[in-house]
């Protein structure tokens, strides 16, 4: 067991950190304040391959591992939670399922543009009546045999990269099957391109945090997509969705970790400078002990996140392995630690921490979503306990 980063990972961290500090940080406040999707940043990230990190070179990607990808999301999130989740949703929720479940033809068609960032990806599972419970899905896909097209009807909500994406993985009901004597919905996954007739966008959500990310409702009204856009086998959509979320959780865990680290770093700098009663507040034992606790928790989160990423890298080599529990633990811990760390960092900032101009205020709002999306903390506990009591 070795806790030392390889030379590659060390250099990659430096790259992501430099990029985040120079290109992302200066915009973070404005992106949040004005709810602007940082299109220019996404284009810059595309230029440097950040949108295809775990994609093999043969598909135009960077050919790096899941840890490199997680570190990218982490470093971006240290300065801007919005930018972190854009990369995470694109990579984990759109690129990864195509890479894992796509046919060679689908991979050739979609991956080069996604990996180069020419196109951005998103993932549609959640519906107003179906979040965690995938059986609640209402969106239907019916095969029109005459034209060999799937016809989609329904809607998806809270979709990250909603209106900004070009390629969407959409989960829909394709029929009914009997399972253990019960009639269950048969669920399948599809690749849907922006601009397909019948595919429109609904309301934009006005959120507490990650305000620059584009969160939209996707609406499908007799939206016809070619039969060849079925992703994986018909009826395998639930597995694909769950497996995709396993990977997504590593991205969100990395985002949460980044937010916690960013808040902690900012706060350490602040307490050294801020003076009360004639000395810096960092000289007070209360401050010191709080920081010690936070740093310890951040480190624990980091180890879990990196371990989950390493397990995912192992899966890439050997598909028989699973990283589901590691991913759930990483997300559960990192998200809750991010919330605690950012909240306490706001506290250490006192009045300034409550003001928009100070980054910790935004980080605290951004952190909250990490306990909710891609499976709430409660869902992570379900995943972990199910494995324990199996």
């Amino acid at each position: 067991m070795d806790f030392t980063l390889s030379k590659e990972h060390e250099m990659a961290r430096q790259l992501f950190s430099d990029f985040a500090q120079n290109e992302v940080k200066p915009l973070a406040q404005e992106v949040d304040e004005t709810e602007t999707f940082p299109r220019e940043t996404v284009e810059k990230m595309a230029r440097y391959g950040f949108l295809g990190i775990p994609v093999p070179k043969e598909y135009g990607g960077q050919g790096c591992d899941a840890l490199t990808y997680a570190m990218c999301v982490e470093e971006l999130s240290k300065v801007c939670g919005t930018t972190g989740v854009i990369v995470s949703a694109h990579t984990s929720l759109c690129v990864d399922p195509i890479l894992t479940y796509g046919t060679e033809e689908q991979k050739q068609k979609y991956l080069p543009d996604l990996a180069s960032g020419k196109k951005l990806g998103a993932f549609g599972l959640t519906e107003p009546g179906a979040g965690t419970d995938a059986q609640g899905q209402q969106t239907k896909a019916v095969l029109d045999e005459a034209t060999n097209e799937w016809v989609l009807n329904g809607s998806k909500c809270f979709i990250t990269n909603g209106k900004e994406a070009d390629v969407y993985i959409v989960i829909a009901v394709t029929g009914k099957v009997e399972k253990r004597g019960k009639m269950m919905k048969e669920i399948s996954a599809f690749i849907v391109e922006k601009g397909t007739p019948g595919f429109t966008f609904g309301t934009k959500e006005n959120k507490m945090g990650i305000r620059g990310s584009s969160t939209y409702e996707l609406i499908f009204t007799d939206c016809r997509i070619p039969a060849g856009n079925l992703l994986g086998a018909k009826g395998k959509g639930f597995n694909i969705a769950m497996h995709t979320l396993d990977g997504g959780r590593i991205g969100i865990a990395a985002q949460a970790l980044g937010l916690a680290e960013g808040a902690l770093e900012t706060t350490i700098a602040y307490v050294k400078e801020r003076k009360q009663f004639g000395r810096s507040i960092g000289a007070f034992q209360n401050t010191q002990f709080v920081l010690a606790d936070l740093a310890t928790k951040v480190e624990a989160a980091k180890l879990l996140v990196y371990k989950a990423a390493m397990k995912k890298a192992e899966f890439a080599e050997n598909p028989k392995t699973s990283y589901s529990v590691e991913a759930a633990m990483a997300k559960l811990a990192a998200a809750e630690i991010a919330m605690e760390v950012t909240t306490k960092c706001v506290q250490l900032h006192g009045g300034y921490g409550y003001i928009r101009e100070y980054d910790v205020e935004r980080m605290m709002r951004d952190a909250k979503i990490t306990e909710i999306y891609e499976g709430t903390s409660e869902v992570q506990r379900m995943v972990i306990s199910a494995a324990l009591l199996k």
Partner: protein, 261 residues
Amino acid sequence: MKVVVCIKQVPDTKGGVSFNPDGTLNRAAMLAIMNPDDKAGLEAALRLKDEYGAEVTVLTMGLPKATDVLREAIAMGADKGILVTDRVLGGADTWATSTTIAGALRNLEYDLIITGRQAIDGDTAQVGPQIAEHLGLPVISYAQKIEVEGNKVRVQRQYDDRYHVLEAEMPCLITALSELNEPRYMTPGGIFDACAAEITTWGRADLKDVDDSNLGLKGSPTKIAKASDKVKKGAGTKVTPDSPEEAAQYITDRLLEKHII
């Protein structure tokens, strides 16, 4: 077209400088980075690669740790890296350094050599022109823009209050200003490739047409008589002048004293 970029690994002075308890500079605590002017030179070379398919070689002289900047350069897009390292080369001043690098460059084919104008640790701006002198090449320093036309380079050369557009025949040597461009970042895939890349390492024996008497500390004409860290400034002076005239006079005198005006 073949371009060689000479780069140097330097301690990052930007984020402030770290001192040991005894007051000496704590180099270990400072991040080692690619010298900014050199990075601009590398970016200029990489643009020539993008545009004309130039082959870009990066060369550095330093301790084995300096391979880090070669790998960084490769991760940005350079084709190969050469490290010149040897105990006998240590302690070199700009004359001995330029002699060494010229000796290494004699082994290579090149149309263009690009160096940074100056390194942020020494701030001398001497090594580039001195390499050109040893190799008998035309030199254009302080380049703020570089274009290639056939076998000629056209360069905007910066002066205090103007610039000259200069044209030189290749091969030639150009020293780059960090204002020249905004250097690109590495790419994640480039980093993985760079870490797997073979770095050529040359020692004293690989230097061509170089006399031992011109190398290292012994071969350096300049010698350090004394080195010290700049004293951190103490508390300043506060005055309460009787009139605005007196106040203005006081400030003007200080500015004159310090040669600011």
